[in-house]
């Protein structure tokens, strides 16, 4: 391979953390005008490699060449100046700043030495219009949904990238429409000769957009291939080091029989979600579909008591219950994996073990501590069962890779042996192997008689495990699909129909 083709080269990059060798002499070459997918299981070292390339981490060894010249970005500011724009895995924008300020932080247009807010806002609106986003750019970023924040982060990185654009799981919280838009932009940049690094766990997207693929496993380079020459099966084998037993079966589960165990009537909260009726049987998975901001997360939060419902009633087995707080819900054997794991899920400084036992301990009350031996047993059990990649159970959870954090939170709820489990985007950021495992897990939980509500932006996945699907639009429940109607097409149609109605 000619060095001149390579816009960015990383040679023998080493990076170790206490107890972990995150990168072990990894080579990586990015060519001009290519989309290069960087793949691997959770914890393989993808994010770490990115951070070493952009100076967010100091690498322990190896060199980085940009346009054939050795560079050494000391921090992301340096990297930006070199023309490397990056979207990091967790949304890394500042929620307290306005959208426009987030977009132009550090390079605000100035007039007479002062920041020209009007020009900045105008440019921000222009920039976002490319993404079909019409926002009030002077509002705080925090007032927008995760998805919108993600688009803003992408817009910022694209605007910053003169030579290289790095996207670390940018599509995790985006729906099909936004993904398509993102890809249009990526193709345009590619045509302009930029090199683009793209990390994702969605293999369809890899095949749709990428030219080459590099796979990492356990911090080591497995290999780089041309996408066209690598079929899916081989790719998965490269990633997990073995053949995946079976891919997600497309046939959906059969509807459960019998009386609904959980009955919500006219349930809702003003300003968050319009009152809805919902029945869930034992051994049933209710999938929730909808566009971004349609109110899926709100539905989950109201059901779990994270936001108290202000209308309607909830019944379990015909018995009225008050789900006024998460505690009350947990007492009724509810569980809830929130979508935003960074702020609502993980307790960063605590160990993996403590994160796993947290909900169980909270339910037992502080006077009845779970013995250390029992904690260790639970932690080890779930670390093994969910294949959580961690050096040991005492590692602070914030040091785990994103996907492994997600699994640990799932473990937290499984440890409480819930009867009603709400999963908001449980597979976000989870690798193919683990993805299949989680889908299998959902099915086995259902078979054991648990009731589940699963929110996902991946329609295929919803089809795979849902026995019924509720479609949301504009913070209201608008359609319900059951039985034979649970197909990807039908769901898309239901969402689209809703959309059309909105337009008219």
């Amino acid at each position: 391979m000619q060095a001149s083709d390579n816009i960015l080269s990383a040679v023998r990059i080493d990076k170790g953390f206490p107890g972990t060798k995150a990168l072990d002499k990894v080579d990586f070459h990015l060519q001009r005008g290519e989309v290069h997918a960087l793949l691997g299981e959770n914890g393989a070292g993808k994010s770490t490699l990115i951070k070493c390339l952009t100076g967010a981490y100091r690498r322990d060894g190896g060199s980085i060449l940009l346009d054939g010249v050795e560079v050494d970005p000391r921090d992301t500011f340096d990297a930006q100046r070199l023309g490397i724009g990056t979207v990091y895995q967790e949304v890394n924008l500042l929620p307290n700043l306005s959208v426009a300020e987030n977009l132009f932080l550090g390079r605000q247009p100035r007039r007479f030495g002062m920041v020209d807010n009007r020009a900045m806002n105008r440019k921000a609106r222009e920039l976002l219009s490319e993404y079909e986003l019409e926002l009030d750019v002077t509002r705080a970023l925090a007032s927008y949904s995760v998805a919108i924040q993600q688009v803003v982060a992408i817009a910022r990185a694209v605007d910053l990238s003169g030579k290289v654009l790095i996207l670390d799981e940018p599509t995790a919280s985006l729906d099909a429409h936004e993904v398509a838009m993102l890809f249009r932009i990526v193709r345009r940049l590619k045509a302009r000769g930029l090199g683009i690094i793209f990390i994702t766990h969605f293999l369809e997207q890899v095949y749709e957009i990428s030219d080459r693929i590099t796979v990492l496993r356990n911090g080591r380079l497995v290999g780089t291939r041309s996408t066209a020459d690598l079929d899916r099966r081989d790719l998965i084998a490269m990633m997990i080091g073995r053949e995946l037993a079976a891919e997600i079966n497309a046939a959906h589960a059969t509807a459960a029989e019998g009386e609904p165990r959980y009955r919500f009537r006219n349930y809702g909260r003003r300003g968050r979600i319009a009152p809805f009726d919902l029945d869930v049987r034992a051994g049933e998975v209710v999938g929730i579909a909808g566009l971004l901001g349609s109110g899926r997360t709100e539905t989950a939060e109201v059901l779990f008591g994270a936001h108290r419902a202000d209308s309607g009633t909830a019944e379990i087995d015909g018995r009225r219950v008050e789900l006024s707080s998460p505690r009350a819900a947990i007492r009724q054997k509810f569980g809830f994996c929130p979508e935003d794991r960074k702020t609502a899920g993980i307790v960063g400084d605590l160990s993996v073990r403590e994160n796993i036992v947290l909900a169980l301990q909270a339910r037992r009350g502080w006077t009845r501590p779970i013995s250390r031996a029992e904690q260790n047993r639970l932690a080890d059990l779930y670390i093994q069962a969910l294949d959580i990649r961690t050096a040991d159970r005492e590692k602070p959870i914030k040091l785990l890779s994103g996907g492994n954090q997600q699994k640990a939170i799932l473990a937290r709820w499984l440890a409480t042996e819930p009867e009603f489990l709400i999963l908001d985007e449980p597979t976000r950021g989870i690798d193919v192997g683990a993805h299949a495992e989680i889908v299998r897990l959902i099915e086995s939980l259902r078979e054991k008689g648990m009731s589940l509500i699963v929110i996902s932006s991946e329609i295929e996945e919803l089809v795979a495990y849902s026995t019924r699907i509720v479609v949301l639009r504009d913070r209201a429940h608008v359609a319900e699909l059951g039985g034979e109607r649970i197909t990807a097409d039908q769901i898309v149609e239901a969402i689209a129909a809703a959309n059309e109605r909105r337009v008219s």
Binding site: P326, R327, D349, Q361, A362
Partner: protein, 341 residues
């Protein structure tokens, strides 16, 4: 078991080293410093003075540790000390029994803590400001009780708490030792410690996991109030009078400093009561050392600041990573062995 002891010691190592260094430094400038003798059936010496004089800050630091672990801070403890000292003095002088007096005083302290806790947990006011309210008003309340004068008392029981001794140790030392052990056992033998740490690190995630966040927050401030009450009783008993104007003045800063010297982060989360107690003792050792040194008082603050900065710099994450390099050679052979296999 031994591994638990070892992790415990490892956690306390920086504080122990700092304390040892300070004690050595003092004993070099003042030779009689380490002498201990038995006098009137009690231990007597500068080391005992440090433990004894440190009592209020140690007690405040115990409560402060828990509050800080929840990502809070309690600026009102000095004022609560004054209130409780005043209450104790006024009850004992108005003829109540020692038991009643202590009970009421402790209740008042807990009440003060509850007030703070309610502001923080229920009204969602930022801890510094929430407790600032009581810091400002509290001393006024204490003065209201004593009417600005020093309320002296002669009750031998109450005085005993301040200057009596038990198994050779001054009573304040016994009180904080026992209380510290009790609190440490309470938080570590129950699940409280972990739940408090969880709240401190991520309140939202904890609430969503079913942790009773508001109650635990209020409880943390109540504990801090209780600690302040005991500290207030000791401070009053020590001088046989309640000095509402000066009791506990600026001690909140010393207590916070003690917690930080003890290595607990002001951002909440992981905490260690034992380390905070050591931190408080370190600060008292500095104070006592300055007094023994015979420098003119103009220099007190500068010396204290310099030593504290020095200790904190040694403890700072940057220095610890540098220190960790020294520790690596011990582990390195093991990794190479593993790789060889």
């Amino acid at each position: 078991m031994t591994s638990i002891v070892r992790t415990y010691l490892a956690r306390l190592l920086p504080q122990l080293i700092a304390l040892a260094a300070i004690l050595i430094a003092i004993s070099m400038t003042f030779p009689g410093f380490l002498n201990l003798e038995i006098q009137n059936g009690r231990l007597y010496g500068s080391l005992i003075d440090i433990l004894n004089r440190g009592a209020p800050v140690v007690l405040l630091a115990i409560g402060m540790t828990v509050v800080i672990a929840t990502k809070g801070i309690d600026l009102s403890v000095g004022a609560v000390m004054a209130i409780c000292g005043a209450v104790a003095a006024s009850f004992i002088t108005s003829g109540h029994s020692l038991f009643e007096t202590l009970l009421i005083t402790v209740a008042v302290g807990i009440l003060c803590g509850m007030w703070n806790g309610l502001l923080v947990a229920v009204l969602d006011i930022q801890p510094i400001i929430a407790t600032l309210v009581l810091m400002v008003a509290g001393r006024g309340i204490a003065q209201l009780v004593t009417e600005g004068a020093i309320l002296t008392f002669n009750d031998p029981g109450l005085i005993f708490i301040g200057s009596g001794s038990f198994v050779g140790l001054p009573m304040p030392v016994v009180v904080w030792l026992v209380f510290g052990v009790l609190v440490a056992l309470l938080v570590r033998q129950s699940a409280l410690g972990m739940l408090i740490e969880a709240i401190g690190v991520n309140r939202q995630a904890s609430t969503l996991s079913g942790v009773l966040t508001p109650v635990l927050l209020i409880a943390a401030y109540m504990l801090s109030g209780l600690c302040a009450a005991i500290a207030g009783i000791i401070a009053a008993a020590d001088i046989r009078g309640a000095d509402a104007n000066n009791a506990g003045l600026w001690l909140e800063l010393d207590a916070i400093l003690a917690v930080v010297v003890g290595g607990t982060s002001l951002l909440g989360g992981r905490f260690s009561i034992a380390a905070s107690v050591l931190g408080a003792i370190i600060i008292q050792a500095i104070n006592t050392g300055i007094l023994l040194s015979g420098f003119p008082p103009e220099f007190n603050l500068i010396i204290k600041a310099a030593i504290i900065v020095f200790i904190l710099v040694l403890q700072s994450p940057r220095f610890r990573t540098a220190f960790a390099f020294l520790a690596i050679p011990r582990r390195a052979p093991k990794t190479t062995e593993q790789e060889a296999k």
